[in-house]
Amino acid sequence: MSIRARLLATLIPALLVLLGALVWGGYAVSREAVLAQINQATAHLAQTHAREFDALFESSRSVAQELAASAALMDFTDPAAGGALLAQTLENNPALFGSALACVPGIARTGPLAPYRFRTAGGVAARDLADPAYDYTRRPWYTEPVRTGAGAWSEPYFDEGGGDILMTTYSHPVHRGGSVAGVVTVDIPIETLVGKVRRLTVGGNGFAFIVTPTGRMVGSHRLGGLSEGSLWDLAGRSAGSPWEVLAALIRDPDPDLRRVEDPFRSGTSWLVTRGIPSAGWTLAVLYPEEEVLRPLVDLRGRLALLALLAAALMAAAIPFLASTFSTPLTALVGQSERYARGEFAGDLEEGTGPREIRRLSRSFNLMGKAIAEHIEAVRSATSQKERYRQELRIASEIQQGILPRIFPPFPELAGRVDLYGLMRPAREVAGDFFDCFRLGGGRIAVVVGDVSGKGAPSAFFMAMARMLVRTLAGRGLTPAEVLRRANHALAEDNASSMFVTLIYGEYDPASGLLRLAGAGHPPPVVLRPDGTAHCPAMEPELPLAALPGSRYHTDEFRLAPGEAAVFTTDGVTEAMDASDAMFGEQRLLQAAAPAAGASAEAIAKRVLEAVDAFSGEREQYDDITLLVLRRPPGAADEARPAGCPESARLDLPARMEVLPRVLDWTRATAREAGFDEAEAGRIAVAVEEVVVNVLRHAYGPGSEETFQVRFISGEGGMTVRVTDHGRPFDFRRERSRYDGRASAGQPVGGIGLHLVHAFMDEVNYEPDTEEGNVMILFKARRPGKASG
């Protein structure tokens, strides 16, 4: 059911009931008030008229008494005198119609004598009622006073042969000598009474009449002057009829209005009665109810009309009213349906309509926005999660791609190196890694590292660290220097505060020499063929990227044939069992012992099994990495093949005279390492500049110190290390002194270092190392560019 229909169905009946109640209530209240007022008014009116009638009767009676008194004193048997008296009386009393003086027969000598004077159109007429045709002695107006000796009003009657009109007569005895000698009368025409009651008529249909003691009714139109019969007879004839009710009420004097069924007409009337004491008659006024209440009925009709009008107006207004609710509601419904369809664009009108609707619209809009934002947030979160997963996958791929997969990694070194590595991540993306690659001169490098944190950033960091180590290795830097430079590069721009523990080793399969530098990483366990094991002491150092400027140490020891170095990460030693006990170094040593003499792969797997057995059901907490570098039992120290110098080293006195030797040797070594004449010349210039710099700045003239020049030939090129033990110099400042533009007008410094940088691919200066100050020059070998 729509709002409009509901409003119509509810409000209109309610309104009608309310208005109806108002109309009827008002009518009822007004009716009481009106009736009270009518009661008062009619009572007053009836009283006034009753008094008037009373006065008429009373005065007529007085006239009759005076007339009787006068007659008693005169010879009323004299018709002339009597007639004069009567005429006089009529003259004095215009209300009277006629007056008679009837003698008791026998009183007068002439017999019956009854002079009568009455009014006609022409004046006062005279008649003798002693006419035998009339025979007044039989008339009630005469007989009654004679019989009772007192005056009385007659019932209305038609005085045929007398006045010849309807009248009522008061007759009074004339006493003379103790007896009634005659009767005097005064006539009041019924016509007079009728005229009076007619005047009394209230309203249009009000009806007044007088009821005589015998029940005759005197009234105007409805009675035609005088009723034929008696009210009492009418009442008695039909019990329960309106006549009976009316008769009862008239007999029962009551000053108030009474409601009766009007017998004179169909309908209800209000009755008021007043007695006329002088005649013993009763004045009755019937006031038709519809007439009394007509203004009220009219009012009621008007009110009802107004109510209907109001209802009609409201019925007309309701659709408009309903639309003020239903239009925005329809909009809200539409909006929520759009929401349900997932369309959150577009706002509802917030500026119009009732306040509640406006607020609802506003809430709706806010809700829509909130939902849209939420959906967007969820979508974004979902896609972020997806991105994150993607990132993890990439990171995992990067990280897995980093790890060497093929073992043995260097088939050409079969029988000389036994190398095996494994890494088992605890989660999708591990923080551990290991690496192995070839260095120059048949040597290999091994790396085991553990990056702080997990996930994509760690994987990238790991890749960076690995790449740095790979790049820095094989350029003549010692393992400690490799780590120092790697740390420098990683720590320099380390916004994420990550770090990596790492151990880097360079291994020469020919001699079994293992040179190691560690950065916060545990040293390897060395497993001997007899099952004993030991852990070489290494200086604990800071992890890479932890602190700029950290220094590292190179430790070296030799692997005897059959010995294996087992590199691990803390995922091995810190693996926990159910009781939170850690695997630890001792268990690592014990675990490795039975595998002594076995292959690197067997050792690695044996240790992993031991760790798994120890952890039991407990979930792996950290990545586990094992790298085993084993010198096969058959490998013996061997001579370096010709033309592949591992390194050549010169220990020289710090004197300028050594320079030609150094230059010759440099050139020869470079040629031997595969560089052409031009490149060898460039390397020689660079070496001279460095050596001269050392001789001039580090020691000064006349020094007894020595310095070293060392050449290391690798796969990528040749490294020259010049080590002194004097004062370090400010490499950066010196480097920036010369910009490559010569000028005759100014002294030149730094040209030498400028040439060094121009001719070498890499120039590094390591002041204050354990060895001393080391200048490291690297020249890459370019197969395609043999000339220069």
Partner: protein, 108 residues
Amino acid sequence: MDLTDSTRGKWTVITVSGRIDATTAPRLDAALQDAIRAGRMWLALDLAGAPYLSSAGLRVFLSALKAVQAGGGGMALAGLPDPVREVLEVAGFLTILPVVAGLPDLEP
């Protein structure tokens, strides 16, 4: 390193045979300074026999150049082997030192 003097027109030609390095450069410097002190302000260096040059030699060239220019003369390099030319070029000296292919190309 061996040094020989000769004269060609207004030019005093010093022919260098052998490396010009930090150990030999002082001798070249002394020879150049002797000539300048002798009032020979037009100095030509024949480097065809000098396969090697380091910054020590460059410094010698530069101080001689300053001196001859102050004395109203000039300086020229002739017969540069590739490695030497490369060093001069890398050091930016070719912009201040005139170079000729051979002694006959010296300006008269």
